[in-house]
Amino acid sequence: MNSTAPVTTPTAAPLRRGPTAWKSGAMQGRIAARYAAERRFRRTGLAAVLLSGLFLAFLLFTMVGNGLRGFTYTSVAVPIDFAASPLTVGRDAFTAPDADQQLAGAGLREIVDFAAEEALGADGAALISENAWRIVRDELKANPDKATQRGTFALPVASAIDTAAKYDGTADAERAVTALREKGLLSTGIHWPFFTGADATDPAVAGIWGALKGSVMTIMIAFAVAFPTGVLAALYLEEYAARNRWTDLIEVSINNLAAVPSIIFGLLALSVFIQFFGICQASPLVGGLTLALMTMPVIVIASRNAIKSVPPSIRDAALGVGASPVQVVFHHVLPLALPGIMTGTIIGMARALGETAPLLLVGMRAFIGDVPTGFCSASTVLPMQIFLWSDQVDRGFVEKTSAAIIVLLIVLLSMNALAIYLRNRFEKRW
């Protein structure tokens, strides 16, 4: 035993210890305690994972629970007799370019209110939405024959009545709903104006199409600017750039831009795009440019990773058969890296699509009651619509907000699913 004593401590007493008594009660107890700690630790880890899953489930459940009814609306069947109370305009007014103004001036609203009072009682005009006549107008425009006959129209009820029909409303509204139900006039169905309309102060006609179209146009601009710039910058940095200070500066600024808070891009856009260049405020153009600056670093980083993963042998082979450096990159490296680049780009675009903060600062939070027509017309985007509706006091907007969130999440999830599909389908492992 002496020969195995540590050399460094020659003065220490020789270590004498028998074999460990693994079977002893004390040892068994320690092992049991260690295993118990192991189990506890493992369970804590599982609990952490489950907790995040639970948060996600709770969030989605809340949104779906609140939002599903936002896609429906209560309407009441009202007969309108255009033969008895005719409109003051002729048939060609329905196809005229300014049909909306002509019909608004032709007393349509009064006719609809009158018909509601006839059918539903003295307070009938208050039971239907103040915008119900617009629904009638659109139906007449689609089918002008109806404008001279007697017909039954499903008119959206007032917001308070809709709330009472779906949940608990005020006592007055509840009474009205009970009365209408007894007559069998109420029906609830998919609310198409929600998919075709723009923002409005009345939940009966407020829709997401204006915001969705604004989102699509904004993203188109962002893509058209950020994708070519990002991919070309990545090609330059990965394939051609010499290692020098200048390249380092570019790399550092790209990495930092990827981590700059999004609201800073809003400040940049406000002072440069709007104050300095005077680009049309609150438009998809300026919003798209802002988001492009924000997404470009993400695209550069994803593209560089995709380009890096193309093996050098491909480049060597192409150079070997006489291709020029530009031909090597554009004929061989870029096509092979494209699936990876597209995956990164789609994920970046999905992030841009859900972004709100920088767009708040370029004026896109204004109330826009029309569907945007051009890249320079005032517009809003879907996340902004959600933000604006979340501030509304009217109870009817709670479900509209959640319904808009459902639409946004579906769009984002399908974009991410597309990215994952592209990755699995086209990405090569070398």
Partner: protein, 458 residues
């Protein structure tokens, strides 16, 4: 003007295509007739001609569309009708703008009688400069195209020239990142300098009262300490108390314990959590979480409980950050060499002991770097705090009370109805500058830690 520009653009692009096709054909013919081989492929000759056609014309169009309005205005001001205009100022520019709108056909009729006589001069000036623009563009198109077309010869190095243009394009694209960075820094610094000429930096950084826009009777006070405190309380304290334990434990479980099948399900779930837009988290915080916390606080009898509490915003922000912390911790734990883990297990340590005493200490720098990045993200987050944390600048440690943050105040200051030059809007840029510097420092430190630690194990 817009319509003409569009037609010209289409014309330039169309002629570019025509030039490309015809130059290709010509290059092939030249080589076939002369019997000598081309230096460059025919398509490079095509690109050469197309570039000469399109680039000068497009550059001219870009410059022209910027300077021609000024030329038009000059012409109009020199005309007789302009003599009666009021002196320079808001009224004058309003009249000019209206006359221009009418002349361009953007507006139906003249509302301001003073603008009426100016419409005709505007029309003539516009027509004149439009004509000049069209002719110059066409001349440039033809000259460039003809010049390039005559250079098509077998030994002409079209490929080298085209590739040089491509390289310039690539380099230009990579400059956009630098330009953006400079743009951010310059605009923030410039506007902040204007703010600091009105309010001293010391007041902003060390003042404890934040009351902008209280009205003309009371002077604005821009002491941002309550904002900084709110930002730290929500982003660096409450959110991290939620995100670090859950994120770290998730990463440990996923890398060390979970079966591959479980990982296949949990990873996408975390990605979904990370992909949910912040406005949705904000709505969730405001609609569901905040009222629940307020009721809870009221039940405990805590004073100042508010629907817009720091706790609600912080907790939801923490949930949002979980996937980020988890993936950073995941990377760091995976980067620890397998030998260290195997060695610990071989000595008889349980997995739990190995993780706690070997893996996590070894991965700690990486985890710390990830946490710093997460903090930088949390303090720059806007929508959750705008929707759930409120706008009252309170200096309080009570998490159930309402606090405000730097980002929420930037939004509030810039979405009101005041003119751009007021101290209030400039204050937003000063806050933005502070936010930018702090996040930049956090990012630089974090990336350095992560990089150093990676090198240590490679």
């Amino acid at each position: 003007m817009g319509g003409t520009t569009f037609i010209l653009l289409m014309l330039v692009l169309g002629l570019g295509v025509v030039g490309w096709l015809s130059a290709r054909v010509r290059a092939a013919l030249v080589s076939a007739r002369g019997g000598s081989r081309l230096h460059s492929l025919p398509s490079y000759h095509g690109w050469y001609v197309a570039l000469w056609l399109a680039v000068p014309a497009l550059l001219f169009l870009a410059v022209w569309s910027n300077i021609s309005p000024a030329l038009v205005t000059n012409d109009v001001l020199a005309s007789e009708a302009a003599a009666k205009l009021p002196p320079a100022g808001f009224q004058r520019s309003a009249i000019l703008g209206e006359a221009r709108g009418v002349a361009a056909g953007d507006r139906p009729m003249v509302g301001n009688p003073a603008a009426g006589p100016l419409v005709a001069p505007y029309r003539t000036a516009m027509a004149k400069y439009q004509m000049i623009g069209v002719i110059a563009t066409l001349a440039l198109l033809l000259a460039g195209g003809a010049y390039a077309f005559t250079r098509i010869k077998p030994d002409f190095r079209a490929r080298t020239r085209v590739e040089r243009v491509v390289m310039v394009g690539l380099f230009g694209a990579s400059l956009v990142a630098i330009l953006t960075t400079f743009g951010i820094v310059l605009s923030l610094v410039f506007e902040s300098a204007r703010f600091f000429s009105l309010v001293s930096p010391a007041e902003l950084l060390f003042g404890t009262t934040w009351k902008p826009g209280t009205g003309p009777a009371v002077p604005d006070t821009f002491g941002a300490i309550p904002l900084f405190w709110g930002t730290i309380l929500i982003g660096a304290v409450i959110a991290m108390i939620v995100a670090i334990p859950i994120g770290l434990m998730s990463a440990v479980y996923l890398t060390q314990y979970a079966a591959p099948r479980v990982r296949r399900w949990v990873k996408p779930m975390l990605e979904i959590l990370a992909g949910i837009p912040t406005v949705v988290y904000g709505y969730f915080a405001a609609l569901t979480v905040a009222p629940a916390f307020r009721d809870f606080a009221a039940m405990l009898g805590i004073p100042n409980a508010s629907t817009e509490s720091a706790l609600a915003a912080g907790v939801v922000m923490g949930i949002m950050i979980i996937p980020f912390v988890s993936s950073m911790a995941d990377d760091s734990i995976n980067a620890v060499p397998q030998a260290m883990r195997d060695g610990s297990l071989a000595l008889g340590a349980t997995s739990n002991e190995t993780i706690r005493q070997v893996l996590i200490p070894a991965a700690l720098p990486g985890v710390m770097g990830g946490v710093l990045l997460a903090v930088s993200r949390a303090i720059g987050e806007t929508m959750i705090v705008v929707m759930a944390a409120g706008l009252a600048a309170n200096l309080t440690a009570n998490p159930f009370a309402s606090v405000t943050t730097v980002t929420a105040q930037i939004v509030k200051l810039l979405t009101g109805d005041q003119e751009f030059d007021s101290a209030k809007t400039l204050a937003a840029f000063a806050l933005g500058l502070v936010l930018f510097i702090v996040t930049l420092l956090l990012n630089i430190v974090a990336l350095r830690i992560v990089k150093k630690y990676r090198e240590a194990y490679e």
